[in-house]
Amino acid sequence: MAIPKVEELRVNVAREPSLMTGAIPKEEWMDVPVHFEEGNFCYPAKPSMVDYLKFPNSREWSPDDEDWKLPEGWEEIILNGLKERLDKFRSLKIFMDICVRCGACADKCHFFLGTGDPKNMPVLRAELLRSVYRNDFTTAGKLLGKLAGGRTMTVGVLKEWFMYSYQCTECRRCSVFCPYGIDTAEITMMMRELLHLVGVGTNWILEPASNSNRTGNHMGLQPHTFKENIEYLVDDIEEITGIRVNPTFNRKGAEVLFITPSADVFAEPGIYTAMGYLLLFHHIGLDYTWSTYASEGGNFGLFTNNELMKKLNAKQYAEAKRLGVKWILGGECGHMWRVLHQYMDTMNGPADFLEVPKSPITGTVFDNAASTKMVHISEFTADLIKNKKLKLDPMRNAHRKATFHDSCNPARAMGLIDEPRYILDNVVPKWYEMPENTIREKTFCCGSGTGLNTGEIMELRMRSGLPRANAVEHVRDKFGVNMLSCVCAIDRATLSSLTEYWTPDVEVCGVSELVGNALIMDGEKERESGLRFEPLAGMEE
């Protein structure tokens, strides 16, 4: 489906009331049905993916079909599934009960800001599930039904869940503003889980999840390909710096296991981030190994259901155990850190067979990772800089005017806010913050996280990414920013599409790419180009 021209969309977003209804709704929200058409839904999961994951009800279907071919007794499956989860997750029951509908979250959602659709207000998105909860699981709802805000589970409700749980990136910006601290991401997660019980899911999530389960990573890079891709980056590094770095793979007895999103060893601009890691580890002589089995930092199980998330997370720890490493270093991924910091410990932890991470270079003990035993590359790098263990020349990034996008999960799910900033302070001559209400824990999502980074919903993505793009445009126009740095692989892919549309002269990079550019390697040749083979300042022809 064609995306509107940027000038049209700019006006539409501001003037058109709602993408969904085309007008300010005059009816009760429960009476406005969803309407699917090409461009407003992610393609359904291929039957082969559904079968491979042993999920139920694999079939050919499409959201714009009238009949979704739901299994016999699907209402009961959903309601039993909800009951099971209310018993299992105390958080869900609390989130269902405590919302007072104050509306503080309403205009904090990038999907609401970009689409103007009332059902994208986080309070109302949650209400899609809460109304069913009320009807069937509360005394008031059982007695009073609609009067108590309850409604019966119908095909229409199910379709609504699908529409709006896939117009939420589980970014949790709304939760920052909720006076009760309701984690709206977990409500979306529950809706997606329940939908999978009746075979309703998207391919852009289930295919990477299947690949990760089978081959080790989202891309489906087999061991020899994974290794060859990294070796290809090693060749590029040698051409640029004159230094040959020597990464190892699946090496037993290494001190540290390094795991990053597989996109970092496949797609631009992630590969430049990976070149940054390779240079850094060589610079400090880190005793580390890559794994071709646990070759994915990301975990699309988080976007699917608890069981799959747990299983994919377990691979990382099984590999750490097999190789006998002391601890795990994690790359620039976003959602892997939510899995790590908020779920890993109760799913697969504590990882007692590993040691509390200690930097072999500085001696710093990362007590914050005492249980998960996994350290973020930004904390690791910031600690190296703080202890003066890196030789850096920020002028090698003088051709970049950077800003920093706080990736949702590192910022909001693990509080990784100052470390990347401290790194930037030391690796670029100068960088610029976006406006205060769009950064740190209030950061605006890239608009396409949680497996929404697929091509068929491009207009939606450009809309939901607009609040972020708007802030980028601000620093571009005010300070001449030309590089949007971040610490997430989904961001590197999605922000590239976003800036190409809204702010075409701004590029996207991982923070570690800027580190790699700035590192002065022992015995290096004169650097004329950065890791993208782009000429450094003063080296242009």
Binding site: H218, M219, A267, R492
Partner: protein, 106 residues
């Protein structure tokens, strides 16, 4: 999923128009079909070089190559690949060669 008839052959394609069964169903009729919908004039040796390189790589690796590896193998800079396949190596060239679309953080 849809079925496309072209030149006497029939092809199962996914929503993005990629061959569902990949190279199993791939043949020269598919190439002419993609050539037309992608707005490519004549198939030149250069087009074939890209298609062959993609297929050779896929047979060994089960995935499309990194764009830079494709550039290196064919000797074409990325700019030239875009001239040959206006919608790009991932969409146009992979589709023509019968490779699946990559998924994940891309």
């Amino acid at each position: 999923m849809a079925t496309i008839e072209h030149g006497g052959s029939s092809f199962d394609v996914d929503e993005d128009g990629f061959l569902t069964k990949g190279m199993e169903e791939w043949n020269e009729h598919w190439v002419t079909y993609v050539k037309d919908i992608e707005g490519i004039g004549d198939m030149t040796d250069e087009h074939w070089k890209v298609v062959n390189a993609l297929q050779d790589y896929y047979k060994k690796n089960g995935i499309a190559p990194m764009v830079r590896i494709l550039s290196k193998t064919t000797g074409f800079p990325l700019k030239r690949i875009y001239e040959l396949f206006p919608s790009g190596p991932g969409k146009g060239a992979c589709k023509m060669a019968g490779l699946p679309k990559p998924t994940g953080c891309v």
